[in-house]
């Protein structure tokens, strides 16, 4: 049984009269002693006493008392004590299922593993790549890491995280999963990362900065990470062997299939679905895709790369149209000269990489904005610690018979052009320009040449110091003429007339023979794809129409690997057509730098158009007694 003891019995006290009158007003604390006294006076202290529990029971007679005589029955009920306290509501942390987001990466393509290291090297040991050039940085300095960034058009969380979660490019290529023969430069890592994350890209690095290597490596990473499977690479035909060689150097595990052979074989190649690189030239692309289209066949590629993409600068050309129609997911264009002549050429490239609508004609402001987003262009001066290129225009004065020959030809030529009047075409003017340029090179009658005199003087010094020089001219006849007159320097000739088989030995001799001080090259053959960085001198015997081509030529010597300053001598005969051409091209060069927006962007200059060629001469047509200017034909690039 449980007994409950009350501790607050005051209100239940049987002696506390319930009818006690309440005070009229609530007492204040100060009046409490008075109240107590009043209460004590009003109520006497009650008497207390004790009583026994066995109270007497009086029974009244009623006739039924017999029944009441019985004693009341008492029953005892036992209740167990509760031993543990029960708490009905127990708190638990709310452990609901936590939502998650998952991203699974594609497995990627695992091509033939690289060959093991050269025998003699420790087996199983990894190659440690050395940086290409020491920049005076401390060896302990933490290596820079190039992280992939999602492109601006990647909006979904999956797309963005795909890029953010890739390892730094340096880790990927540090001889771990993919072997690199040489450590790329920092700017090349940036270029690789930039290409990797773009579906539309125009890589416009200056010549010699390694566009080929960056492109191959970016392709390699995309293939390895499962982003692409089939790649079509289009380049000019002479560069096919160059690309094959570069692939074997930079990505020996990638299968490269060159589209070649007869029609049946080529069709078989086009219809292959095997992953890898497909290499073809522009002419084959146009010819084969037109045939394939007629048969309703449209080969699909994950990536289409156009090398020397200025080949599609005319958007109405069959080449440009065919390239745009190739079924592809990504489009990259490679060129060192995104603009050769007109801003519309850039629009054609943008149309190919699908960042403007078909036939879109962006204005200069829009071109500039698109360039910022989709063009990556770096100049040598800005990205690597290259020895300087020292441009040295040599203004020469014609003398004697050569001067006379020039003036006669110029005077007669202009008279003839004026006589043509309205029937004059740009071709007529062009022919005169060529004739005058040839005379500025040398007088064909007397063989007098101010340029040759200067060349011989410079070469004496160069040969004496053991140096090597490259000379460019646009005419093979001029090159042969110079060769006859520079035998003291053991000149070598390299132009389109030299059979292909003889070309490599010529270059090898120029490199290895200490007595071969001079190589004579044509712009057309020698300006592209050659590595002659052991030569410290370049002569531009005559000027090309477009400084971009001249720069390509100069960059055969002024490229990565060059250890000394490169002296570039541009021969310009004073008071001749050469001086006027040089001035016009320089003005255009300055004007168009603004489109690509890069300081030091020496290749954004443009060639001469028809109007500018007319402007080289003050041509007048007779109109009765007076004369009037002969206006230019509609612009057409040279």
């Amino acid at each position: 049984m449980t007994e409950h003891a009350s501790t607050s019995s005051d209100f239940a006290s049987p002696n506390f009269p319930a009818s006690t009158p309440a005070p009229a007003s609530a007492p204040t604390p100060a009046s409490c002693p008075d109240l107590r006294a009043q209460l004590e006076n009003a109520f006497s202290i009650p008497d207390t006493g004790s009583e026994g529990l066995d109270l007497p029971v009086e029974i009244f007679l009623s006739g039924i008392n017999g029944a009441l005589v019985r004693q009341p029955r008492l029953e005892i009920v036992t209740a167990d004590l509760v031993t543990t306290a029960a708490i009905e509501s127990r708190w638990k942390p709310h452990n609901s299922k936590l939502p998650t987001f998952k991203l699974t990466f594609p497995e990627g393509i695992d091509f033939i593993p690289p060959k093991p290291p050269v025998e003699g090297a420790e087996k199983g040991k990894l190659r440690s790549l050395k940086p290409p050039a020491a920049n005076g940085e401390g060896a302990e300095q933490k290596k820079k890491q190039t992280r992939l960034q999602p492109p601006s058009d990647a909006l979904s969380i999956q797309d963005r995280l795909f890029y953010l979660l890739q390892p730094p490019i340096e880790n990927w290529l540090a001889g771990q999963e993919l072997v690199m023969p040489f450590e790329p430069f920092d700017y090349q890592y940036e270029g690789i990362a930039w290409l990797f994350s773009r579906k539309s890209a125009l890589l416009a690095d200056e010549m010699g900065l390694g566009k080929t290597m960056q492109t191959i490596t970016a392709m390699r990473l995309l293939l390895r990470s499962g982003q692409i499977s089939k790649v079509l690479l289009i380049c000019p035909k002479p560069l096919i062997p160059n690309w094959q060689r570069e692939f074997s150097t930079w990505a020996e595990e990638l299968p490269v299939t060159t589209v070649t052979g007869d029609t049946a074989r080529r069709r078989m190649i086009w219809e292959m679905s095997k992953p890898g690189i497909y290499l073809a030239n522009y002419e084959l692309l146009v010819r084969d895709f037109e045939e394939l289209e007629q048969d309703g066949i449209s080969p699909k590629f994950d990536l289409l790369v156009l090398d020397e993409a200025q080949r599609i600068k005319n958007r109405d050309s069959r080449t440009a149209s065919t390239a745009r129609n190739v079924n592809r997911k990504r489009s990259w264009a490679l060129t060192g000269t995104p603009i050769e002549n007109r801003a519309e050429e850039l629009a054609s490239l943008f149309e190919f990489i699908e960042v403007i609508p078909p036939r879109g004609t962006p204005d200069a402001r829009q071109l500039s904005r698109l360039s910022d987003e989709y063009i990556l262009r770096r100049c040598k001066d800005l990205v690597i610690d290259m020895p300087p290129r020292l441009d040295r225009p040599a203004y020469l004065e014609l003398e004697g018979a050569q001067e006379h020959a020039y003036k006669v030809a110029e005077k007669e030529g202009i008279i003839q052009l004026n006589d043509l009047g309205e029937s004059i075409t740009v071709q007529h003017v062009f022919e005169l320009v060529l004739r005058l340029k040839q005379i500025a090179n040398f007088d064909p009658v007397t063989n007098e040449s101010a340029k040759l005199d200067r060349l011989r003087a410079d070469m004496e010094e160069i040969a004496a110091s053991g140096g090597k020089a490259i000379l460019f001219s646009q005419w093979t006849k001029t090159l042969d003429w110079i060769a006859e007159r520079t035998q003291d320097f053991n000149p070598l000739i390299y132009h389109g007339g030299v059979p292909h088989k003889q070309r490599e030995p010529i270059l090898a001799k120029f490199k290895e023979d200490p007595n071969a001080h001079l190589i004579l090259m044509s712009y057309g053959t020698g300006a592209v794809g050659l590595n002659l960085q052991f030569a410290g001198y370049v002569f531009l015997y005559d000027r090309w129409w477009n400084p971009a081509i001249e720069d390509q030529a100069i960059n055969r010597a002024h490229r990565i690997g060059q250890k000394n300053p490169v002296v570039v001598t541009k021969f310009i005969c004073k008071d001749t057509i050469e001086e006027k051409i040089d001035r016009t091209l320089q003005e255009k060069r300055d004007l168009f730098i603004s489109i690509l927006g890069a300081e030091g962007n020496t290749e954004s200059s443009m060639g001469l158009n028809a109007g500018e060629i007319f402007g080289l001469f003050d041509l007048k047509a007779r109109d009765g007694d007076s004369t009037r200017d002969i206006g230019p034909e509609p612009a057409a690039a040279v």
Binding site: N95, K97, Q145
Partner: protein
């Protein structure tokens, strides 16, 4: 990093959890091959304890959230199971009590526990009640070169978490 052509595979999990102001806690698990190339990534929705939980859990709140809520969920849901889960937060070592996978606490070489095991440029220590966990490194650790910085993948995880939170916030706005 590793000898080419080997058939051994080591899948590494990089588990990180961060607190985002006004959003709570989020965690991410990146599973890579031994070259560091990503195979799978998971992240959780934000976990935001209420005031009662903060009071009741006190200092055990963060380990509880990181381990029993975030870490356990991520590992249970992983499609590509890692051979070893690395963390740079010692509190996450307690996750080992809730999952059946080795959990390694990554430390810089200097100042690492005496019983830690070298792995890449860093050292790894394991839960004291699971000493056999280190066997995974004795067996497969050589797949990772000594030059590998194993802290680097955590940067990726944290950047991805920030990106995911940002996208989540933009959708909510």
């Amino acid at each position: 990093m590793a000898a080419g052509g080997t058939k051994k595979q080591l899948h590494l999990g990089f588990l990180a959890a961060i607190e985002v102001k006004d959003r709570g806690y989020v965690g991410g698990l990146l599973v890579t091959n031994h070259f560091g190339r990503p195979l799978e990534f998971q992240c959780t929705a934000p976990v935001r304890p209420n005031h009662t939980q903060e009071v009741l859990f006190g200092p055990t709140l963060v380990p509880y959230v990181y381990n029993e809520l975030i870490g356990k969920t991520l590992i249970e849901k992983a499609g590509v199971k890692p051979n070893l889960v690395l963390t740079e937060d010692e509190r996450i070592l307690g996750l080992r009590e809730h999952v059946d996978l080795p959990i390694g606490f990554l430390q810089e070489d200097a100042g690492a526990c005496p019983d830690s095991v070298r792995f890449g440029q860093q050292k790894v220590s394991f839960h004291e009640r699971h000493p056999l966990d280190r066997d995974v490194l004795y067996e497969l650790g050589s797949l990772v070169s000594e030059e590998t910085d194993l802290y680097e993948p955590f940067e990726r995880v944290k950047q991805a978490l920030q990106e995911a939170m940002q996208q989540n916030k933009q959708r909510a706005a």
